[in-house]
């Protein structure tokens, strides 16, 4: 019984950590891309790259700096520290050279915004079923 409980606990932990590591990069389905390079993903989220290859403006959505989903996405997918992104945004905003991403409160809101905004990009940690949002890979 004890062993069973231990195994059960490990499986739950394993499941939980898989879920954490499985944030996916998502775009509005109008964007005709299957994947982006790591450099491109970093350039988009740090707000240096302002448009898609076809010239359409990119709208970047993020969750707050303190959100676990944001922190895990930044670390595991962009392979950056969250404070690096924050510094880049602050430099753009307060020097007037650029803008920061639009910050949303919940994943649900992220889902809806990416679905309804042409050229939008964001991330989700949950499975989703919406034709207007597409997960793309980072190479």
């Amino acid at each position: 019984m004890f062993r069973f409980r231990k195994t059960f606990l490990y499986s739950v932990l394993l499941l939980f950590s898989c879920q954490l590591a499985s944030q996916s990069l998502v775009v509005n389905s109008g964007t005709q891309l299957e994947s982006v390079t790591l450099n491109a993903a970093r350039a988009i989220f740090s707000m240096r790259l302002k448009q898609w290859p076809d010239g359409f403006p990119i709208t970047v959505y993020v969750l707050s700096d303190t959100s676990e989903i944001h922190r895990d996405f930044t670390r595991n997918k962009l392979l950056m520290f969250p404070h690096q992104l924050r510094r880049s945004w602050d430099r753009y905003v307060y020097s007037g050279m650029g803008i920061a991403p639009i910050e949303l409160k919940t994943e649900q809101e992220m889902m809806e915004k990416v679905a309804s905004t042409p050229g939008a990009i964001g991330y989700l940690s949950k499975e989703f079923k919406d034709d207007r949002v597409r997960a793309i890979t980072i190479q």
């Binding site: 450099n39 491109a40 448009q51 520290f81 307060y94 007037g96 803008i99």
Partner: protein, 402 residues
């Protein structure tokens, strides 16, 4: 080009800035998608054991306030108009009125993944070193005060912004990103800057002031390593007020002439997840022609550097240690020709801590143990006999941003 940037053009630029702000503000009401507002406010209190820094700090100075409100409008992804108004109180070293801190039009000509180029015109924040462009926003500074040897708060108004035209670009190869900024224009001087630039106690005017600026910034692995080179060339004509000559005069009289400053700054930074190491080294050569008498040529070579280590203890709480050194004349590091001799150097050991209550609110406190008075200004310490060599500075600051 030089003629182009002189006075009539810069006056036009200033007017354009003002027009720009009006344009954006009226537009903002109608279009909330492409208009973004930002702002910040901070209030600090300074206490020094001796000497004055930003106000009457021997007796607790509250004269340390920054308030800013900015707006940017991006009607299409390649074009952005940005402006910011700042109100700043900094003892005797800054005027007490709100002013247009920046206001420019920015056109991104090419914005590809691996390279880009753009141009801007108007009043811009000078790209100099790691911190100058956002130096008024407390939360972007690693400590309450930036290292005074390189970012002196008493000289901020001299170097922080200019009415300029600028081109910039970036290029990416593998994990390296190179950023280039070139600026040509006129620095924003005020009455205080004139009395700081003109050697000796008399005020006066500065005319024909011009600025060249270039910065190369290399970033490896999205900013894990950052290496910067900044070059500044400033020149202007000095017209000091003539004082009646008297045999009892304690200082040399000075005359109309030219001054220039060439700055070379090397910046290095390494980022770990919870640690950050930063160092910068600056050489500043100031030249005076005819100022100390017809035909005279004098030059001083200043040296500044600091080492800084920052540790993020938790998500909200960080500590920082820094050693910061400044020699206004590196050929005279012991200050033999300074009056008093310890005005020939400043060595500042800083311990700082910061707590972020939320993304918007933070509080920071720090202690400086300082030897020498080289980066203090005579505007706030008029009598050199009152200066003290070994002094401490304590400060506490609350700040807000959105």
């Amino acid at each position: 080009m030089i003629e182009f940037v002189r006075s009539p053009f810069s006056k036009l630029l200033l007017r354009c800035c003002c027009l720009l702000v009006l344009l954006i503000v009226t537009r903002a009401a109608a279009d909330t998608d492409t208009v973004r507002w930002h702002g910040f406010a901070s209030q600090g209190v300074i206490k020094t054991s001796d000497n004055n820094f930003l106000g009457d700090s021997e007796d607790y100075s509250w004269d340390f306030t920054d308030i800013g409100l900015g707006v940017s409008w991006r009607p299409v992804s390649k074009l952005q108009l940005s402006a910011q108004v700042v109100y700043r109180r900094a003892g005797e070293t800054s005027p007490d009125d709100p002013y247009i801190d920046y206001g420019f039009i920015n056109y991104s000509i090419v914005n590809e993944l691996d390279w880009g180029i753009g141009a801007r015109a108007g009043r811009i924040k000078n790209p100099f070193g790691f911190y100058n462009e956002t130096r008024d926003v407390a939360s972007t500074r690693p400590s309450v005060f930036l290292p005074q040897s390189i970012y002196p708060d008493t000289l901020r108004d001299l170097y922080h912004s200019s009415d300029s035209v600028s081109v910039y670009g970036y290029s990416e190869w593998d994990k390296w990103l190179m950023n280039v900024d070139l600026v040509r224009g006129q620095p924003n001087l005020n009455d205080q800057s004139a009395s700081i630039l003109i050697p000796g106690p008399q005020g006066g005017d500065i005319d024909n002031e011009q600025l060249w600026l270039a910065r190369l910034l290399f970033e490896y692995d999205a900013g894990r390593i950052r290496i910067g080179f900044s070059f500044v060339d400033f020149s202007g004509d000095l017209y000091p007020e003539q004082l009646p000559t008297s045999p009892s005069m304690a200082f040399r009289n000075i005359y109309s002439g030219q001054t220039s400053a060439q700055m070379r700054l090397l910046s290095l930074e390494y980022n770990w997840e919870h640690w950050q190491f930063t160092t910068e080294y600056l050489r500043n050569t100031r030249r005076y022609s005819d100022v100390f008498g017809a035909g005279s040529r004098l030059s001083f070579d200043a040296e500044s550097y600091y080492f800084q280590l920052r540790h993020q203890i938790t998500l909200n709480w960080s500590v920082l240690g820094r050693y910061d050194v400044y020699y206004p004349n590196r050929d005279d590091k012991n200050g033999h020709s300074s009056q008093p001799s310890f005005d020939g150097y400043s060595k500042d050991l800083t311990l700082s801590t910061r707590y972020d209550f939320s993304p918007a609110w933070m509080v920071a406190a720090e202690i400086h143990q300082i030897k020498g008075t080289a980066w203090l200004t005579s505007l706030e310490n008029p009598d050199p006999r009152d200066l003290v060599e070994d002094w401490n500075l304590y400060t506490l600051q609350v700040s807000f941003k959105f």
